[in-house]
Each structure stands twice: as C-alpha cells, then as structure tokens.
C-alpha cells in the first residue's frame, strides 16, 4: 500500500493535495476526546456518511428495480426474496432514509443551539436548508417507487398538498404527477427525480457546504 502511494506520490506529488484536504487539526471545542459534549459536532459528518451509504445501496438497487407500473412491485419483490443480500441492501436503503432525516435534523439542531447560523455563516445555513429540502425530496420521491398501496396513496396525498398552493397549485401538482392522476408517468418521473435530479443537486450543495466549512472553520459555541 505504502509502495503504491510512494509510486503515485513521486509522479503526481499528491502529499500537499491530501494535506490540504484531509490533514486538519480538530479544534478543541469540537473534539469529543476533550469535551464529551462535542459529540454533537459529529452529526453532520454522520449525516453525510449515511448519504454516501444511500448512494451506494441505491446504485445497486437499480440493478434490479424497474420503474414501470407492471414491473415495479414485482421487481422490488424480486429484490427482497430472490436475490442474494437483496433484503439486506434494500433494508440499509430504507432504514438509511429515516437515519438520514434524523441525523440531518440533529445536525440542524446543533447548529441552532451553538448559534452557528449567524454571521459569517449565513450562506452555509442557507445551503444547509437546501440540503434539508433535497433530503426530504429524496424521501418523498423514493417512497413511491415500491408501487404498493402505501406508496400510491402517500404520493396521492403528498401531491394534493402541492395542489393546495394558491394559484399555481394545480399546475404544479400536474407537473409533478405528469398528468392529473398518479400513474405510469408519475412513477418514471419520481424515479428519475430520485436517482438523477436530486442527487445531482445534493452533490452541488454538499460541495458548497463543505467548501464553506473549510473556508470559515468550525464555529465556536456561544
């Protein structure tokens, strides 16, 4: 391993690059080995780790999942019952959804408690709000994909909430559903939003989020 690294480092001069990305001292107030209460500074990192798990398991689930009304339920059933480790991998993805929401909420709570949203970090708070919405959107769109009764009716109710927005509501709901009813077009739309659009924005906003943390440092508590 170290020989491989040495080979690459000699040619590509990686060490300064890795230093600048990964080698930073954890400030004392955020170091759980110095103050036990500092564990709450880990929530954001854990949330990110869960998102990585979601991406990884999600890509693998796409090996079998088919977003069409005829095949969706049967393909999820196939994943659960006829593939090796299918139940385990889908289980991670399903439980990971809840875990992501919990960790993002705890992270947000920590940021509120330590007042970290204030100047100069307002922009990072805003990026965080976008990330919260993107995670929520992923939960909502992913929920339809098994195409069972719960999925169908949850989406029907969710889109009806959008429809209750004054003036633009009806149009927005139709755009989301791809028509006036939850059907084949809704399923494909939600699938593509779930696996392409939202992840793309997640990457962008996560990159911005981390860039700002690195530029501004970890905030001190009040």
């Amino acid at each position: 391993m170290s020989r491989v690294y040495k080979f690459l480092d000699e040619r590509l001069n990686l060490t300064p690059l890795i230093r600048s990305i990964a080698d930073h001292e954890v400030p004392e107030h955020a170091d759980p080995s110095k103050h036990v209460s500092a564990f709450m500074y880990c929530f954001g990192g854990i949330a990110f780790f869960i998102l990585l798990l979601q991406a990884l398991t999600g890509v693998f689930l796409m090996l079998y999942y088919v977003p069409s009304p005829e095949d969706a339920y049967a393909s999820v059933n196939y994943i659960e019952n006829e593939t090796a480790f299918g139940g385990f991998i889908r289980g991670i993805h399903r439980v990971g959804t809840t875990a992501a929401v919990v960790m993002v909420s705890l992270h947000m709570l920590r940021v509120v408690l330590t007042g970290s949203y204030r100047k100069p970090r307002e922009l990072n708070w805003i990026a965080g709000i976008f990330l919260l919405l993107l995670v929520a959107g992923s939960c909502f769109t992913g929920y339809l994909l098994p195409w069972d009764q719960k999925a169908y009716w949850a989406t029907t109710v969710g889109v009806n909430m959008v429809a209750s927005i004054p003036l633009a509501g009806g149009f927005l709901a139709d755009a989301l559903r791809g028509g006036s009813e939850v059907g084949a077009l809704t399923l494909v739309r939600f699938f593509v939003i779930h696996v392409m659009f939202l992840p793309a924005f997640l990457v962008i906003f996560l990159a911005a989020h981390f860039f700002m943390v690195r530029r501004q440092g970890i905030s001190r508590p009040l």
């Binding site: 001292e25 798990l53 990884l56 398991t57 693998f60 090996l63 079998y64 088919v66 095949d71 049967a74 393909s75 059933n77 196939y78 006829e82 593939t83 090796a84 480790f85 299918g86 385990f88 991998i89």
Partner: protein, 161 residues
C-alpha cells in the same frame, strides 16, 4: 500538528491508526460482500426448474415417440409468462421413459417424428435421429437433448435436466 511524530509515531498513535483501519476494513467487508453478492446473484443462483406435468401415461403411443405440446410458466427475472414447448416421450425397451427436446442439436430447428421412416428428421439441413435421439445422419454434432422425466400417479412430469 503532529509532523515531528510522523516518522516514528508513538505506539499509542499507531494502535489507534491501526484500529481505525481495522474498523474501516470490517465495515468495507460488511458492505462489500453483500453488494458483490447482490450484483452477482443471478450468476450464482442455481435455479432448479420446477417439474411440469405434461401428459397421462395412457396418452403415450406404443412403440414410437409421442409428440407432446405443453404449457409452462417461464420465469425471466421477476417476470412470469406462459410459454408453449414441445417434447417427445419414448418408452425404451426396458420400460423406462425418455423425454427428448425437439430442438435439433445442429442449429436449433424443430425436429419432428416421421412414422414412415421411423426417425426424427430436421427440416433445415437434413439431420436425422433415431427414436432414442441418437444421430443417424446429417450435420447434428450430438444426440437430441434429454429432459428429466418422472412418473407419479400415472402422470408424466418433465424438467430441464
């Protein structure tokens, strides 16, 4: 910063670093093995076909192969579809049943039993097989494929061997 320590890290630091690596490795394996298994699962799975009931014993013709067309449920991943297939069932001299597919082993055309000449003939390239499926003439490289057969309560069941 720990630069001065980097060349000769303290035992404690080395222990912690190795511990983290071990944990990461454990986590990687715990995730990597299921993911690889999940990906490879269709290739690893030995899916045994189900027995398909195709006919009653009484329907068999004496002395020569009986052509039997049957329906079965074809499994393709999560899709189930009904398909039709054809097989020939022959009673050997010792009384045992042999089931043959009707696919010529040359290029897969459908062979048929010819009572007059007492042989299976393939319409495509003139391959011919005897009643047991052995090659008599023409290009087929091997005998007609056999299916597993069993008889239960006077019903004939077959399964892909």
């Amino acid at each position: 910063m720990v630069c001065s320590e980097e060349k000769h890290p303290s035992p404690r630091r080395r222990f912690l670093a190795n511990g983290i690596k071990a944990l990461a490795g454990l986590f990687g394996l715990g995730l990597g093995i299921p993911l690889a298994g999940f990906f490879l699962s269709p290739a690893l799975k030995k899916s045994r076909a189900d027995w398909i009931e195709i006919a009653d014993l009484g329907q068999l013709r004496q002395g020569e192969p009986s052509k039997i067309t049957y329906r079965y449920v074809r499994k393709d991943g999560w899709r189930m579809s009904e398909a039709r297939r054809m097989a020939f069932v022959v009673r050997q001299d010792d009384g045992k049943l042999v089931a043959l597919t009707n696919r010529c082993t040359h290029l897969g055309c459908g062979v048929d039993w010819n009572s007059a000449t007492q042989r299976f003939t393939c319409p495509c390239h003139g391959g011919a097989f005897d009643a047991q499926g052995r090659v008599l003439e023409g290009p087929p490289p091997e005998p007609l494929a056999q299916l597993a057969v069993k008889v239960e309560a006077d019903k004939i069941f077959i399964r892909d061997a």
